[in-house]
């Protein structure tokens, strides 16, 4: 079953000059798959990921999530869908600086409203522990190191048990030990819990050990 599918996605930038950034992207990603998206800098990986995450709706072609087309769906409905079904780890911007690590992890669950406050706090704490950050839980997130922040962001992406976790270089700021930990968590999520991972990475090891690699070149998929 395809959890994520694109049909002939094309995207252009018009500023400063017209630029065809994504060309006929058609991919199918299965439930439980651990997919690595690789390619040279500027090849369009982030741009594609923003479209897959439903945040960017300015493109031609079609995106299906969990078998449903996202065409014509309102922004509010897409936001609700992201909240419930998609976890996202960004390339640079991570956390809300005025909140503690724990609060940052809790926010998507508080928004979802599926669990009570205590349970959310417990879950958030568990996710932080998973990433080795239990001692940082009460620190304001602005006081964490870059790598710690990135791991808190990963914990936040996991809190609602999303169907799909997308990461734009989710291990970009991590040392090899922590990269290993994150990789193992991802693998576990896909294999034991049937969640799907789509991760942009420049780390060859990381990519080679995932289930599948898609390589992008100049906005197209290299087969």
């Amino acid at each position: 079953m395809n959890i994520l599918e694109t049909k002939l996605i094309n995207k252009y930038f018009y500023e400063p000059t017209e630029f065809h950034v994504l060309k006929d992207i058609s991919i199918k990603i299965q439930k439980g798959e651990f997919l690595s998206l690789i390619g040279k800098s500027g090849s369009g990986k982030s741009t594609l990921l923003y479209i897959l995450s439903t945040m960017d709706t300015d493109y031609q072609g079609e995106l299906l999530i969990d078998g449903l087309s996202t065409k014509g769906i309102s922004n509010d409905a897409l936001a609700a869908l992201r909240n419930e079904k998609i976890g996202f780890v960004f390339q640079f911007h991570y956390l809300l600086p005025e909140f503690t690590s724990l609060q940052n992890v809790m926010i998507p669950a508080l928004k979802l409203g599926k669990w009570g406050n205590d349970e959310i706090e417990h879950r958030a704490y568990e996710k932080l522990k998973l990433l080795g950050l239990e001692d940082q839980a009460q620190k304001p997130s602005s006081k964490l190191s870059g790598g710690q922040q990135q791991r808190v962001a990963i914990a936040r992406a996991l809190i609602n048990d999303p169907l799909i976790i997308m990461g734009d270089e989710p291990t970009g700021n991590l040392d090899s030990k922590n990269t290993r930990i994150v990789f193992d968590i991802f693998k576990e999520l896909t294999e034991a819990h049937g969640q799907t991972i789509v991760a942009v990475t420049h780390d060859d090891d990381f990519a080679q050990n995932s289930h599948r690699i898609i390589e992008m070149r100049d906005g197209a998929i290299k087969s």
């Binding site: 923003y50 945040m55 922004n75 936001a79 996202f88 911007h93 005025e98």
Partner: protein, 408 residues
């Protein structure tokens, strides 16, 4: 607490200085607004109070009539009567008892009182003082004009049992060196001379009036004019609310067939001055509130700009546009709410302070009171304006495109 409000709360507390400045702006704006508008109410009340000590809400009298031709001419024909004059009618109101009963039937009317005005000279040796002798029924007159409150010597009530008594203004008493119990001679415009006993002396808030006005029993006024007990020059009418007078006057005119003049029409110039005062105070107080609103707008705009990353992240993890609007309008409303409360406290303090300031003269203590309607108006205005001042930047925040922020 809903997550939106938790976030709003965190933002408010993490920017304590900015929040405090915004709150302070609202406190000042709303405080001054409530204070100035309460002051306006106080001014109006005090002016009205002093006015209604001398005039009634509505005055019914017989206006002079211009002679008219007996045969009415068609419009293009030469008028039969050229250079018409005032008909030399007497100014009496015919059948005053029946007319007063008719007026009293109107629901909004509280008091009806007959009055006879006599132009007279107070005689003091060889000098004469021009004056107005007002013939009244003492009890009714006191109810209408609150005369007893202005009495400085003697007893106004004793006028009723003394047909030859007179109550004079303090200006007359001073000029003519009169004490309670002294006799005062006066000559009416009809040439009748009487010698009356001073029963009481009043001091109104208008020195001019104190120098020429006096009260006598209505029967005495009638005899000063050499008229019988049915001679009434005007009927004074008070209503439950002076503001109703302009509406009721035409109705009374219709019922009575006499001229009915409301106090606003009788004091047009004064009303124009009041209106101007109202416009100026309203304009200034609204401007101050507006300035406070700009303060909030500015501060929230800055907050939105500095939180643009947060907004992008929140939208990415599933916050809707309306959630973002709530986060920022909640901040505005919290600032507005605290500011409005503070403004009320400030207004109360200033009003309390001024109420105890003695001005003297006609006014006495500073004429300002705690006006609940103005507090309510100020609070409503404050909340509406802060909501708007917060909504505009919030709307901007809601439209932030997260992808364009992440790309930076």
């Amino acid at each position: 607490m809903n997550i939106n409000y938790q976030i709003a709360n965190t933002y408010l507390w993490s920017n304590k200085k900015m929040t405090a400045v915004a709150v302070f702006g609202v406190v000042l704006g709303i405080g001054i607004y409530i204070f100035m508008n309460s002051l306006l109410v106080g001014f109006d009340k005090s002016s009205n109070d002093s006015m209604f000590k001398n005039i009634a809400h509505i005055r019914v009298f017989r206006d002079d009539e211009i002679a008219r031709p007996l045969i009415s001419s068609t419009s293009d024909a030469t008028p039969i009567l050229i250079n018409p004059k005032v008909v030399p009618n007497s100014n009496t109101i015919i059948n005053p008892k029946r007319i007063m009963q008719e007026i009293l039937k109107i629901e909004e009317v509280t008091h009806v009182m007959p009055q006879v005005n006599v132009n007279a000279f107070y005689l003091n040796g060889k000098s004469q003082i021009n004056g107005l002798v007002v013939g009244v029924e003492p009890e009714a007159a006191n109810q209408m004009y609150q005369i007893e409150k202005t009495i400085v010597k003697g007893d106004f009530k004793s006028l009723k049992s003394n047909p030859n008594g007179i109550v004079i203004g303090i200006g007359i008493a001073d000029k003519m060196n009169l004490k309670i119990g002294d006799m005062l001679s006066l000559t009416s415009s009809k040439g009748q001379t009487e010698s009356l006993k001073v029963m009481a002396i009043f001091q109104s808030n208008n020195a001019q009036i104190d120098k020429y006005k006096s009260y006598v029993n209505i029967s005495k006024a009638q005899s000063l004019l050499a008229e019988g007990p049915n001679y009434i020059t005007e009927i004074n009418v008070n209503t439950i609310d002076p503001e109703l007078a302009p509406k009721l006057a035409p109705q009374i005119a219709q019922i009575t067939q006499y001229t009915a003049e409301d106090w606003k029409a009788a004091n047009e110039t004064l009303m124009a001055a009041f209106k101007m005062r109202k416009i100026v105070i309203t304009f200034v107080s609204l401007t101050i509130v507006l300035v406070a609103a700009f303060g909030i707008y500015n501060i929230l705009n800055m907050t939105v700009t500095s939180k643009i990353n947060d907004i992008a992240i929140l939208k990415a993890i599933g916050f809707k546009g309306k959630d973002v609007i709530r986060i920022f309008t909640a901040q505005a409303l919290a600032i507005g709410g605290i500011g409005v409360l503070g403004g009320m406290v400030m207004a109360t303090l200033v009003i309390t302070l001024l109420r105890n300031v003695y001005i003297g003269g006609d006014i006495g203590y500073f004429p300002v009171d705690y006006e609940p309607t103005k507090y309510l108006q100020g609070a409503t205005l404050g909340m509406v304006i802060t909501f708007l001042a917060g909504y505009i930047p919030a709307k901007k925040a809601a439209n932030v495109d997260p992808v364009s922020i992440f790309r930076k």
